[in-house]
């Protein structure tokens, strides 16, 4: 990058996060609708969404609550869906670990898939960035996504049942995640990780509480790391 100021990475981060607004908006409206249809008040929906800021885990929790699942099962399952966040945290640690604790607490609270994906890609492309520049970029990516997530959850909660299922908002989540795959699948190791993860996740889908997703993700990580190790040993450029 052609400038050393900390302002520049912030705006770059905002630009990188901006396209996700198109999917965050329908996704958060959908959460508002689903939560109020399941019996949560607008206030309860808003507290949950601002405290947790985790689409998939929130949907899981509301779904299980409305099915009358025991509180402990609801919590364990929703946290299992969110376990990937611990992996994101670990993955960002070499870049952001040296930041002040209050920044790290803020980064942790505002962690979403899209911010992680944008940040890890940007950090690989800009190895010369300082910790402050890297943190700036991160805050840039979430400064549109997170406020809009909360605002449009409110819209969805108020609109309630007015949005018909024909709009197929349920598929906003998979499409967002799938759209992120293209730029992520850069090497054979990345491809191997994704293919193994998908296969194991589908084969183990009969297991309760999203265990298949967790095991599939771990299997994919191991596959990617192993392919990378084999390729490096044969002297191939990754």
């Amino acid at each position: 990058m052609n400038t050393k100021t900390t302002k520049s990475p912030y705006w770059q981060g905002m630009a990188a996060g901006a396209p996700f607004v198109l999917v965050i908006v329908p996704f958060s409206v959908l959460f508002g609708v689903v939560a109020t249809e399941a019996g949560l008040s607008v206030f309860e929906t808003m507290v949950m969404t601002t405290l947790v800021i985790a689409g998939a885990a929130q949907f899981t929790a509301v779904q299980l609550l409305s099915e009358g699942a025991p509180t402990l099962i609801v919590l364990a399952t929703a946290l299992a869906v969110n376990l990937r966040m611990a992996m994101y945290s670990a993955s960002l640690t070499p870049h952001l670990g040296a930041a002040p604790v209050r920044h790290k607490a803020l980064i942790a609270w505002l962690m979403v898939d899209q911010a992680y994906a944008c940040a890890s890609l940007a950090y690989e492309r800009n190895p010369g960035w300082s910790v402050a520049q890297k943190a700036s970029f991160y805050f840039g990516t979430v400064s549109l996504i997170v406020p809009l997530w909360c605002a449009f959850t409110f819209v969805g909660a108020v609109l309630g049942e007015a949005i018909p299922p024909e709009f197929a908002l349920d598929f906003a989540v998979p499409i967002t995640f799938l759209a992120m795959m293209g730029p992520m699948l850069r090497t054979r190791a990345h491809m191997a990780a994704a293919v193994v993860a998908i296969t194991v996740s589908l084969v183990l889908a009969f297991l309760p509480y999203s265990i298949g997703v967790l095991v599939g993700g771990l299997a994919g990580m191991i596959a990617g790391a192993e392919v990378e190790r084999q390729m490096a040993r044969r002297g191939m450029v990754i």
């Binding site: 507290v47 509180t71 919590l75 929703a78 993955s91 598929f171 992120m180």
Partner: protein, 114 residues
């Protein structure tokens, strides 16, 4: 969408809201907060490089093959939209192009087949 079987109890709901908020924060803060700027071993870093590219497909695959909106039945418009999204993403390496193509494919598929 969501089958409303039972009334959600207020106590259970607030336990889940607060527990999920605290638990999610701890999961996200864990490594950043505890490990700080200490170096991680090479093998750990090698595995962490593939976190996103492994966990996200593992999360999405069941949503594509067994969508909740159709009560888990394989759905042609949704499957097509998923394939179009991945194909456009791979061809153009552009997230927003992939989202738009996937959305267009989904609505076209639902219009023609749904």
């Amino acid at each position: 969408m969501t089958e409303i079987g039972t009334e959600i109890g207020t106590g259970a709901l607030w336990t889940v809201i607060i527990g999920l908020g605290a638990g999610s924060f701890l999961l996200r803060f864990s490594f950043l907060g505890l490990i700080g700027d200490r170096d991680l071993p090479a093998w750990v870093l090698r595995h962490l490089r593939y976190t996103g590219v492994a966990v996200i497909p593992a999360l999405v695959a069941p949503l594509v093959v067994w969508p909740a909106a159709t009560d888990g039945a394989l759905d042609a418009p949704r499957l097509m939209a998923a394939l179009v999204t991945v194909a456009v993403g791979l061809a153009f390496r552009n997230v927003i192009a992939a989202i738009l193509a996937g959305g267009a494919s989904l609505y076209l598929g639902l219009y023609l087949l749904g």
